[in-house]
Amino acid sequence: MTKKTEFSRRGLLAVAAGAMAMSMTAVPAQADGSVTVASWGGSYQNAQSLALFQPASKAMGITVKEETYGGMSDVRLKVKAGAVSWDIVSSGSGSAARAAAEGLLEKLDYNVIDVSTFYPTLKTDYCVGSDVFSTVMAFNTATYGNSGPKSWADFWDVKKFPGKRAYRNKVAGALEPALMADGVAPADVYKVLDSEEGIKRALDKIRELKPEIAVWWKSGAQHAQLMKDGEVDMTTGWNGRFDVAKKDGAKVAYTFNQGLLDYDCFAIPKGAPNKDLAMKFLAEVSKPEIQANLPKHITYGPTNKKAYEIGMIDDKTARMMPSHPDNAAVQLPVSLAWYAKWEQKAAAMYQDMLTE
């Protein structure tokens, strides 16, 4: 019964939103209201706020409240308790997929959100891509000059590149580099990983490097700080964090070669208090002219291809983005299907390896 009314209301809204979208460019919508967005904090949320949330809230004439959160487990708690206070959450693509499978998210209405010019793989029914990032290898330019590691084989080569490493303390994005270092072609990585033996092979390769791994990092802020402090000479991590650290004076560089291409997305938790307005807000932040702001604040690329075409991102900046065609070509896109199938099993095996 409720579903039905909701549905018709949504249908109505789509029409209304369509009508409004036409008028929106001219006059900021009269819709006075507010949405609450939860994201990851740090330089990442700061960039989101400046590039996406604030311009979108201005354009729509609504208030945006920002909070930080600890991921989909928080959403689960709120949904199960029937006390959802966030309208939109910013999430990694993998955990969003799992949360959607668990029924924690509202289905997005792509009649409201225009994704016609998106990269086709950067959205699901429940989560619309917000930015593209890459898990890369970064190195200290004071230690290695500009001739740092170019491939995961180099990252593992402690003779050619002596120095301390940092590596992720979770399985996500940790096994693929190990296999590539072990000689598996990027295109075959997920094929090899599709069995326990394959996972074991990757873990054995990490065991090999373990004596050189000084820190197992757990957050983007941490791996950026490790490079800033010179605590390690080489680390895996998320590219945007390193660029921000570099701006702050850190001696750090990275390569996109063999990086893991992944994306973040926005989702609406089930039972969000301002669901309809949230949908319209997502429509706004997905527009190319809003998305084109993001690269000014952090080197995470837009998910809307058109953002590159409207002349707001200069060529030099565009070439720094993980989703720039030249960069995307040398990277391995992360397989959500593999994570859905294997993550829990692989995580347990990873934990075994970590505690040895």
Partner: protein, 297 residues
């Protein structure tokens, strides 16, 4: 006869009065008891219940089986107890002389010195933990000064391992040991010590035979607080352990993130609680800690 019956009558009145007093006291204590019931017993009971539920809500031992199947969990429990024991031991080694020193000072000096214990105690845990990170890391203050002074050539591995974790945790836990210990030392009457000297005991004999045994209840109470707090510690090992010191509390958070499931995390909490109670029970038997745990005779 009449005296006897009067006494009996008195006794009944007295008994009634003391009963009434007990009830009145119970009434006064009921807010506290209710609070404990609501904020302690209920959640722990709920946690216990959740740990036996599978994803679909049916009864299951999967969360406990997982702990048996994977070697990691055993190692994580070992690490947790190892870190807690070591921290408690180091706190005793450092804290006992400190508390003794404080107890021997004049009240004014003692208050001043106590500030050095309390000031860090009032500072945010996070601030102190990150301060240690700044001091101890590879290019941190301690390593760079020591290398400049020629004390050592290569940076020592002071942090992102067990060393750093222990340094940080001992620093944070020290006041929890020193405060109860200092209290119990101050309560030791100087007359006992004088009497001991009077009977011909030397200073070290007086200390070991009189002062030390009398200070033990305070020491045990402090050590117990430190040990139990260590078991559930999260921030310091997470920041200073470099991902190599994995304690149960950290595994609990990663289980929540990984399995999206309270049961997986609460099973860990239940096991930790049970093991801790077992250890405390054994310790209280072995060390006759009854008076510390509240069951005094």
């Amino acid at each position: 006869m009449s005296i006897g019956s009067e006494a009996r009558a008195n006794e009944t009145v007295l008994l009634k009065q003391s009963r009434r007093e007990e009830w009145a006291l119970l009434g006064l204590a009921s807010p506290a008891i209710l609070t404990v019931l609501i904020v302690m017993v209920l959640p722990v009971g709920w946690l216990f219940y959740l740990s036996f539920l599978a994803d679909d809500g049916s009864f299951s031992l999967e969360h406990y089986n997982r702990m048996l199947e994977s070697k990691a969990y055993g190692r994580i429990f070992m690490t947790t107890f190892e870190v807690s024991f070591l921290t408690t031991g180091l706190c005793i080694l450092i804290g006992y002389p400190l508390a003794y020193f404080l107890s021997q000072l004049s009240p004014r000096m003692a208050a001043l010195c106590m500030l050095t214990v309390l000031l860090p105690f009032w500072t945010s845990l996070l601030v102190r933990t990150y301060a240690w990170l700044v001091l101890l890391q590879r290019k941190g203050l301690i390593n760079s000064w020591a290398i400049d002074l020629g004390l050592w050539d290569e940076p020592l591995k002071l942090v992102h391992n067990l060393n750093g974790t222990l340094i940080g945790m001992v620093h944070i836990m020290l006041p929890f040991l020193v405060l109860p210990l200092y209290g119990s030392m101050k309560a030791i009457s100087a007359d006992y010590l004088k009497a001991s000297s009077n009977l011909g005991a030397g200073p070290s004999q007086t200390f070991w035979n009189i002062f030390f045994p009398l200070s033990l209840p305070g020491l045990f109470a402090g050590a117990l607080i430190v040990f139990v707090l260590c078991l559930g510690f999260f921030v310091t090992p997470a920041v200073l352990g470099g991902g190599k010191v994995i304690m149960v509390s950290m595994q609990i958070t990663s289980n929540i993130e990984l399995f999206f499931n309270w049961g997986a995390a609460s099973a860990l909490g239940v096991v930790l609680l049970v093991i801790t109670l077992a250890i405390l029970l054994a310790a209280s038997r072995l060390l006759k800690l009854d008076n510390v745990l509240g069951g005094g005779h």
